[in-house]
Symmetry: C2
Subunit: 241 residues, 2 copies
DNA sequence: TCATTTCTGTAGCGACCACTAGGGAAATGT
DNA sequence: ACATTTCCCTAGTGGTCGCTACAGAAATGA
């Protein structure tokens, strides 16, 4: 009973013309390809009655807050405001939906690490920015606290799902390590620097901060933690120590 | 079908004497009060056929590995090797069993923080010992990696359970903070020290190291992380800086 | 108008969840 | 021997899980 249904449970039986004019929005905009300019032929049959991206975002927030397993398909259909068959038709099964959610999360909320590593001149500056932005991102209003990648597959009885997020976490640490190694090779960091340990320390800090955010820490408190954590870095500028 | 049951599913109908001699161990030892010397009257009816502590330890390991919700009562009865009614009779419901497990975990596996805070002369020494012992404890063979208190109630749809472990985590951080504050007051740490932030940093490190242990980090790797983390502390001995 | 295609809601699948009634079995005290 | 107490096993309870068969509704092209 979402829409288009009267209180007595029967479908509306208005004239065709009136129904056509009632919801021209979604498929119409997609046909015109408004932003991309790509002209997409409207598919043959009945178009779906909900916006796929909006529904996906709702699923993202639900998974973020409660995790993969604690979020039931029933929960999902409720917050997405669609029926179960529509969910399965549009997103495959629950696991596929979660994978898509993780991907969207990565580009939408979890990209600050990649951006910092790409844009900052040194590993240290990148890590400092990552920790500072994590303090903000993990406590922002409008979405659950902490990091979906850290928490959403904890205690998950589907090993593939748990492993998939674990891989993402470890890949992040590997990215830190290679960036640090590059700075060591370039003489920005001292030759004896243990890049692996430094990278793992950074990963542990991020994950610990995420847990702290879930446990109620504020942005200011996490920023103070981040600042303390940054004091481990050797005090070198761009010259070898 | 655990014991005392034949392959055809019928109960054994041997002579009374033989049955009595078959399992004298558990209740007998309890009656004698072997270690404590306390003489405990054997209770009136049929004694339970399993050792309560052993079963509790099995439940502890199961909850530790899979978390509160992902560990089903069916899982528990299997690893504890008892029937569901026996579990409910001996431990109450699933939540009571988990609470008891958490308590046992605290005294059995998670007491190194309290011990370090009580025994070490300075906050810094205590934290250093905590991080070092965490590196060992979180990667020990014979039990799941990481900390039960950190992970077992993640994504838990029973808010009270989740909150209960959250309270334990935050209580640990509060303990760090008051210990640090004491050192600041005593002049062991500089007057400007931000005790709250330092304590939260320590908590985040522990939680991050626990996550790392779950993600496959070795003891040596965690020790390296701990050593790096200790470099944030002001370089003072027992004299004011 | 009409066949075709696709979506949507209903209604329910088998499996598992936490939990328990009830009866027989095994200990007790007398 | 016998009543009493307590435990354990069998066999379920109602509820929720992820998922889907089916039929009608709403779009298409001809």
């Amino acid at each position: 009973m979402h829409s288009m249904v009267n209180d007595d449970g029967t479908m509306r039986a208005e004239g065709r013309g009136a129904v056509e004019a009632e919801r021209p929005g979604i498929a119409e905009a997609e046909r015109l390809g408004a932003s991309t300019g790509k002209v997409k032929r409207r598919p043959r049959g009945r178009p779906r009655s909900f916006d796929r991206e909006t529904a996906l975002e709702k699923a993202l927030l639900a998974f973020w807050e409660h995790g993969y397993e604690a979020t039931s398909v029933s929960d999902l259909t409720r917050v997405m405001d669609i029926g179960a068959p529509s969910l399965y038709a549009a997103f495959g099964d629950k696991r596929s939906l979660f994978e898509e959610v993780v991907q969207v999360y990565g580009t939408r909320y979890g990209s600050f690490t990649d951006r910092a590593l790409a844009e900052e001149p040194t590993a240290r500056a990148a890590v400092e920015r990552v920790l500072r932005e994590a303090a903000t991102a993990y406590t922002e209003a409008g979405h659950p606290h902490g990091c979906l990648v850290v928490h959403a597959a904890a205690n998950c009885s589907t090993p593939e799902v748990e492993q998939s997020l674990r891989d993402r976490r470890n890949a992040n640490i590997a990215a830190f390590e290679s960036r640090i190694r590059a700075d060591v090779a370039a003489g920005v960091l001292p030759p004896g620097t243990d890049a692996a340990a430094l990278a793992r320390h950074t990963g542990a800090m991020i994950q610990g901060m995420s847990q702290q955010a879930r446990d109620g820490a504020s942005r200011e408190e996490l920023e103070a933690v981040a600042e303390i954590a940054m004091s481990i870095w050797p005090r070198t500028g761009t010259h070898t120590g």
